[in-house]
Symmetry: C3
Subunit: 342 residues, 3 copies
């Protein structure tokens, strides 16, 4: 990250139409509301357009139909949100990878590391691991035996990757996440208790996958658990053994897929949406927050269950009690209708 | 922690009225039910008052209106629960901080540590970090570059704090928690897939905040994620990018605030209560367990959604099916009413 | 793990009736569908019986009533799923424990380790800890002061165990889990804010317990939090202070027990099922996914709440709105019935 960039260079990178002073120096990103001199802001949601009038940004990224509403420097683009996403990396303030191996790291001699790999303090890399060029493993993370990591991956601190996990290129895995722990597989013993089923499958993750903090992806029982390309996973997500998650699917916080369930491509699971085991969702399914999917979905679209409107607790108590009378109410309604007809 | 304390000293500390033997030696805390000689118990919930009769505690903390019901040593106070809370720290059995730097810790030479700071084994403290006097960082935790920690903080083992996080005084952060990971921000690319938005904001946390185990507080996208003073956070909690949590607010396990949502002061989120993105809650709002808040709340009070009464699964199936007929039932009811009127 | 096992040896171990070639060499496990030469498959769910016809497994584990449907080598057993569970450990491909102490581990001189204990890199074992023979502590895990671990336990990487935790024999604890963090106990201070209650209880865990990844078991406030024998716990589970979980109980992902709640023996909590504080469940209770238990359950059986059928989002919106009219509908229905009677 440089201290500043000229607006001209930014326009060039974004393929944006530049209205104003190309020599303006941009030192950071800001929201329309908080922007001051030197800041680059953006407008992607037209409901904030009124903020343009009093916006003190050095420049604003916006689309043609809003461009007249701002008087200062403008970068006019086709898709303001995407352009903001693209330029945001220029202002990333995370420390640069060291491209060195910290002396406290424990790296098995049979592990193979590509060029320009960064390995932080106390990292443990077990036997047979392969790490692609340009990847970073941050402090106190553990990569289990024979696991493979592609190029330009970023494994944050305190991540646990078990043995035989295969991860593609450009993965980001945030702290506290666990990939390849045993699936939850136990056979009930008729004598009481449970008999653990060794989870001999692995986890296979595609390219361009991001995994948030404290998320878990369990290894398969026999076959592998599979995550496609460009899957994005938020915090506290659970992906159980032998689940399959299709390309480009997004899972928000606490979203979960139970064992052997399959999510199609381009699905979006809102927060706390869960899919039970052995169920299959086709491509392009959206699940609303807190939805529980208990059966296959074979038609793309938006689905929901369970959530009722927010109300005050006394109101809610009244309605909630009635839920326990619903079947009775339905039968009584039917009876009245029948009386009516006669 | 001493082996024992005289009841007189405890009474003095709690500003309690002492009924009985001030020389009695207290060696530990116990519940009314399990207390034996040497134990200090307390009564804060009057439904347990009947246990006083057979209680073998060395002494009991209680309020004036219950004081006659116990025959042994008593500490009569205004607020028994608060008094118990205050005295509990005298019996804390956690190991004392070492006030030393473990030789295996990796501390960047540009980091600055106050007096009497304890740093455990394999702790990693990156460049520019500042840690206030009396703070403890336990084994295998990582503090990212330029992060600031106030005085008398306690960071338990295996905690991950990313770069540029600012935490106030007396914070407690339990194991497995992650502060400052990237928010879940991606722009959909019209060509397919997602374009990551660099999360250039930080996390700012006030004084006297406690964060449970395996909880996550993401860094802001542009502005900061903000946690007020005296906020208490349980395990598995999620606070997304640019959320704002007001002073004294309590969040139980799995409670969550999505991106750019704001919680007021003195709010209480019960377990699994979630607030969707860009929504604002005023001060003094209580959310019942599993509630999903989908719109602003501008009046203080208790709110709920979604939860219906517990019933046996066969009963529940009957009623649940009827939920899918609710709209139809409502229309039919209306029709019957109209027939009635004519 | 050997490269292969003879079918005869496997039959002997499983006490199975061997139909076919006892000299057949088994090199791995597979599903009926994916099995090829050398693979051992199993049939436990009769709905997959049709896959037997085209199954290329070297041998199949199945029960007598299905045995005629496969032409190849068969192991005929009483309980195919249990037999598969038992044999699965022969094919476990996890790296063998080293039975050595890694030089980077930090082990307090007062800690006591049994025979053949494996301690990974950067493990921290504090004062007074006792670890039973044959146990494994993997990289970067921390065992707090005075905690006890039985024999043949397996603590995966990045696990945090606080002080004074007592764990029985043969426990498995997966990465990212936290045992013994402070319970969520705070007394509201009438002056504002919260007064932390020191959590002076511990955690006591029986034998044969498995704990998934990123799960949390808090220490007791005064008495201990107690987990029975053969309890199985999935990922992201929360067990709050002073909860009691009975023997053989299973808790799926995100299942939770709040403070001082008690689960009986042989209970099964499906994903996201939560039990509120101070509530008691008897033995043999099953909770459906997402159920919230708000009162005692004294009769064994299956219980549910809250979940309504999956539907498209437009349908759901219609019905969900009606939920907020339920009480009104019930009163209007009653009124119509009364009119009818007159």
């Amino acid at each position: 990250m440089q201290d500043s960039y000229s607006l001209k260079d930014i326009a060039l990178f974004l393929d944006a139409e530049l209205w104003g002073d190309g020599c303006a120096q941009i030192t950071g990103l800001a929201t329309l509301k908080s922007a001051k001199a030197g800041d680059l802001a953006f407008l992607s949601n037209s409901k904030y357009a009124s903020q343009l009038q009093h916006c003190h940004a050095e420049a604003v990224i916006l689309e043609a139909d809003q461009a007249q509403q701002f008087a200062g420097n403008r970068l006019v683009v086709d898709n303001a949100y995407l352009s903001y996403a693209k330029i945001s990396s220029w202002f990333d303030n995370a420390p640069e990878p060291s491209q060195t191996i910290h002396p406290s790291a424990t790296i098995d001699p049979t592990a193979s590391l590509g060029e320009a790999v960064s390995v932080g303090a106390n990292v443990v890399i077990e036997a047979g691991v392969q790490i692609g060029s340009g990847s970073t493993i941050k402090a106190n993370s553990v990569i289990g035996a024979r696991s493979l990591l592609g190029e330009d991956c970023s494994i944050e601190s305190n991540v646990s990757i078990y043995h035989d996990v295969r991860i593609g290129h450009r993965a980001v895995v945030h702290s506290g996440s666990v990939i390849g722990a045993d699936g939850f597989g136990f056979a009930p013993d008729p004598q009481g208790g449970w008999h653990k089923i060794s989870q001999v499958g692995a986890v296979v993750i595609g390219d361009d996958v991001e995994i948030g903090a404290c998320s878990t992806i369990d290894r398969g029982a026999i076959d592998d658990t599979i995550i496609g390309n460009a899957v994005i996973i938020d915090n506290h997500v659970q992906i159980a053994h032998n689940a399959v998650v299709g390309d480009n699917t997004a899972m928000a916080a606490y979203a979960a897929v139970a064992g052997s369930a399959t999510l199609g491509k381009n699905c979006v699971l809102a927060g706390g949406a869960h899919v039970v085991g052995h169920v299959t969702l086709c491509d392009n399914v959206q699940l609303m927050a807190h939805t529980l999917v208990t059966k296959d979905i074979s038609q793309s679209g938006s689905y929901a269950s369970s959530v009722t409107p927010l109300m005050t607790t006394p109101q809610w108590r009244k309605h909630s009690v009635r839920f326990g009378q619903l079947n009775d109410m339905a039968l009584r309604l039917k009876k009245l209708e029948n009386t009516e007809k006669n």
